[in-house]
C-alpha cells in the first residue's frame, strides 16, 4: 500500500488520528486509549498485514511520554510508525501489544524498567535490567543520581 493509501485507510478507521510525513516513514499520532483497537486492525486486516514489529520504544518529552512502534509488513513491504501519546506522566500507562506481537513482551519490560510506563495486561511486568529495589527510571529526563557525572 502506498503512503497515500495508508493515510486514507487509517483515517477511515480512526478519524481523530494525525499524520506526520516529515521523516522517512509515515507517522501516525494517536492517544494511548486508541492504541489497542488500531493495532489489532493493523495486524489482522489483510490489506495492512503488519506482521513485524521491528522496534518499540518510548520518548520522554518532559510533559508527556510518546510510545513509538515501528511496524513492517513482510507481505506488502510497507512501513508505518505509530506514536501513542501518554499525557499523564505521573501515572503513565498503556495497553500491552504483546498478544499481537510476542516480541513486545521484552521490549515493554525494558520500557517499564527505564521509563516507568505501566503496560496494562502485560503477563510478566517486572524490571528487566535493573534490580527490583532500584529507585527511579533512568531514561526519564528528570532522573538524577548522586553518582551521575556530566561528561
Amino acid at each position: 500500500m502506498s503512503t497515500e493509501d495508508l493515510k486514507n485507510s487509517i483515517t477511515a478507521i480512526l478519524p481523530s488520528s494525525t499524520f506526520d510525513e516529515t521523516g522517512e516513514f509515515l507517522n501516525v499520532v494517536i492517544t494511548s486509549e486508541e492504541l489497542l483497537p488500531l493495532m489489532n486492525t493493523l495486524r489482522t486486516k489483510s490489506e495492512f498485514d503488519f506482521d513485524f514489529l521491528f522496534c518499540l520504544t518510548c520518548i520522554d518529552w518532559k510533559d508527556h511520554f510518546m510510545m513509538v512502534y515501528h511496524l513492517l509488513s513482510k507481505t506488502h513491504q510497507h512501513t508505518l510508525v505509530i506514536k501513542a501519546k501518554i499525557a499523564d506522566r505521573n501515572n503513565a500507562q498503556i495497553e500491552t501489544v504483546c498478544n499481537i506481537w510476542r516480541t513486545a513482551e521484552l521490549h515493554e519490560r525494558e520500557v517499564f524498567d527505564l521509563f516507568g510506563v505501566k503496560f496494562i495486561n502485560h503477563p510478566d511486568l517486572r524490571r528487566l535490567f535493573l534490580s527490583d529495589d532500584w529507585v527511579g527510571h533512568p531514561l526519564r529526563k528528570d532522573y538524577t543520581d548522586e553518582n551521575m557525572i556530566s561528561l
Binding site: 521523516g23 522517512e24 513485524f52 521491528f54 516480541t103 521490549h107 527505564l114 535490567f129 556530566s150 561528561l151
Partner: protein, 374 residues
C-alpha cells in the same frame, strides 16, 4: 533449599528450579537463565538480564554526534565495525550527507570481514559448547589473520571506532588490498577442512538435528532476525531488501533454510561465510580512488526530527533510532539490538527439550550479551 532469593527450589508441581549462569561457560558472557525442570525436561525458562547493563542509550544523550558512536563498539563487541557503521549512517541520513564512493566500498569490505570473523568465532565456540575442542583452534587460526587486518587498518582489534559520520576516519593501510586477498585465499581453502571436522560429524548431527525448532511464524512474531530467522525460512536480509553502503553493487545470495532447527542455523552460517568471501572478492579490486571522508562541520548538529537506520549485523537486524531536537547531542537514542529479540525466542525453542540441548540452542542463536544488555 533456595533458588533465587526467597524462593523454593522445588515447586508444588514437583518441578525443580535451577539457575544457569550468570557465570556458566556456554552462555558466553553473563546471561542468567532460571530454568524449571521436570527431570531433564525443560518446562519453562526465564532470562534474567542486566548484569552488564551500562545504559549506553542514556550516556549517548550527553555525548556529541561524533562521540556517541564509539560507545557502540562496546555493544556487540564482535561486530564493532557494523555498529559504528549503523550509527554513522543514521547521522548521515540526518545531515543528508553523501558519502564518497571509496568510503562506501571500504565500509562494505570491513563489514563483511567482521561478519566472517564473527561467524568463525561462533563456529569455534559451537564446537566447544558441544564438546569438541579442536574447532576452536582452527577457527581462531583464520580469525587471527582478519584481526591483524583490523589492527593494521584502525589500530584496534575489537573496539575499532573506524566508521565516522562522513566516511571512514583515515584511509586504509597501503598493504590492505594485498593482505585481504591473501587472507581470502587462505580462508577459502579452509572451508573444506571446517566441513570435514564438524559439518559431517555424526555426533554434531545428532546434537543439532531436530533440536530447538523455531517456526517461521514464531520467528516473525518474536522479532527474530539474522541467520537465526533465515534458518526458519524467514527472508530478512537487510543487505538485500534495504541495501546500504555498497551492497547494491555486489552479487550475493540470501541464504535461506527451512529446517528451523539448530542444524539449519548451523548450515546457514556456514554458507553465509562463503557469501561474505564472495562479496569481499568482488569489491577488493574495485576500491575507487578519491576522498575517504566527506566534509563535515566540527560540531555536528542534526536538524529537528527522527532518523532510523537498519543494518544487518552478523547476528541480525540492528536498528538505530535517533530523536533530535536540533542540539549537538541526541535527545533520545534507541538501539534495537538483534540479540535482544533473538533471546526472547529462546524459551519457546528450548521448551519441552532436554537441558543438554539448551546449550546447543544457545550456541546456534549466537548470543552476545553486551549487545542484549547494552
Amino acid at each position: 533449599m533456595r533458588g533465587l532469593i526467597g524462593e523454593d527450589i522445588l515447586t508444588e508441581e514437583g518441578e525443580f528450579i535451577i539457575n544457569m549462569g550468570p557465570q556458566h561457560p556456554s552462555t558466553h558472557g553473563v546471561l542468567h537463565l532460571k530454568i524449571w525442570l521436570d527431570g531433564e525436561t525443560v518446562k519453562r525458562i526465564q532470562p534474567h538480564l542486566g548484569y552488564i547493563h551500562r545504559s549506553i542509550e542514556k550516556m549517548s544523550e550527553s555525548l556529541s554526534y561524533r562521540n556517541f558512536i564509539f560507545a557502540t563498539s562496546r555493544m556487540d563487541y564482535l561486530a564493532a565495525h557494523v555498529n559504528n557503521e549503523a550509527c554513522a549512517l543514521t547521522v548521515e541520513k540526518g545531515l543528508q550527507l553523501e558519502v564518497p564512493q571509496r568510503a562506501k566500498v571500504i565500509r562494505t569490505i570491513l563489514s563483511e570481514l567482521t561478519r566472517l570473523q564473527s561467524h568463525q568465532l561462533w563456529w569455534g565456540c559451537t564446537g566447544l559448547d558441544l564438546g569438541g575442542v579442536t574447532p576452536f583452534f582452527y577457527a581462531f587460526r583464520e580469525r587471527e589473520a582478519i584481526m591483524e587486518i583490523f589492527e593494521e587498518t584502525c589500530g584496534a582489534r575489537l573496539t575499532q571506532n573506524y566508521m565516522v559520520p562522513g566516511g571512514i576516519m583515515y584511509d586504509v593501510h597501503p598493504n590492505f588490498q594485498k593482505r585481504v586477498k591473501d587472507v581470502m585465499i587462505q580462508i577459502k581453502g579452509k572451508f573444506e577442512e571446517y566441513d570435514n571436522i564438524m559439518t559431517g560429524n555424526v555426533i554434531l548431527e545428532n546434537r543439532l538435528k531436530g533440536v530447538g525448532y523455531l517456526s517461521k511464524e514464531d520467528a516473525l512474531s518474536y522479532g527474530v532476525t539474522g541467520p537465526t530467522a533465515r534458518a526458519s525460512g524467514l527472508s530478512c536480509d537487510l543487505r538485500k531488501s534495504n541495501p546500504y553502503s555498497a551492497y547494491d553493487q555486489v552479487q550475493f545470495d540470501e541464504i535461506l533454510d527451512t529446517g528451523g532447527d539448530c542444524y539449519a542455523r548451523y548450515m546457514v552460517r556456514m554458507r553465509e561465510m562463503r557469501q561474505s568471501v564472495s562479496i569481499i572478492e568482488q569489491l577488493i579490486d574495485n576500491i575507487p580512488e578519491g576522498d575517504f571522508q566527506a566534509k563535515t562541520k566540527n560540531v555536528i548538529k542534526l536538524p529537528k526530527g527522527e532518523f532510523y537506520q537498519r543494518v544487518e549485523t552478523p547476528r541480525g537486524e540492528l536498528g538505530v533510532f535517533i530523536v533530535s531536537d536540533g542540539a549537538a547531542s541526541p535527545y533520545r537514542i534507541k538501539y534495537r539490538s538483534p540479540g535482544f529479540s533473538n533471546l526472547s525466542a529462546l524459551p519457546i525453542m528450548a521448551k519441552g527439550g532436554k537441558i543438554g540441548d539448551l546449550v546447543a540452542i544457545m550456541a546456534t542463536i549466537d548470543l552476545v550479551i553486551p549487545d542484549i544488555d547494552r
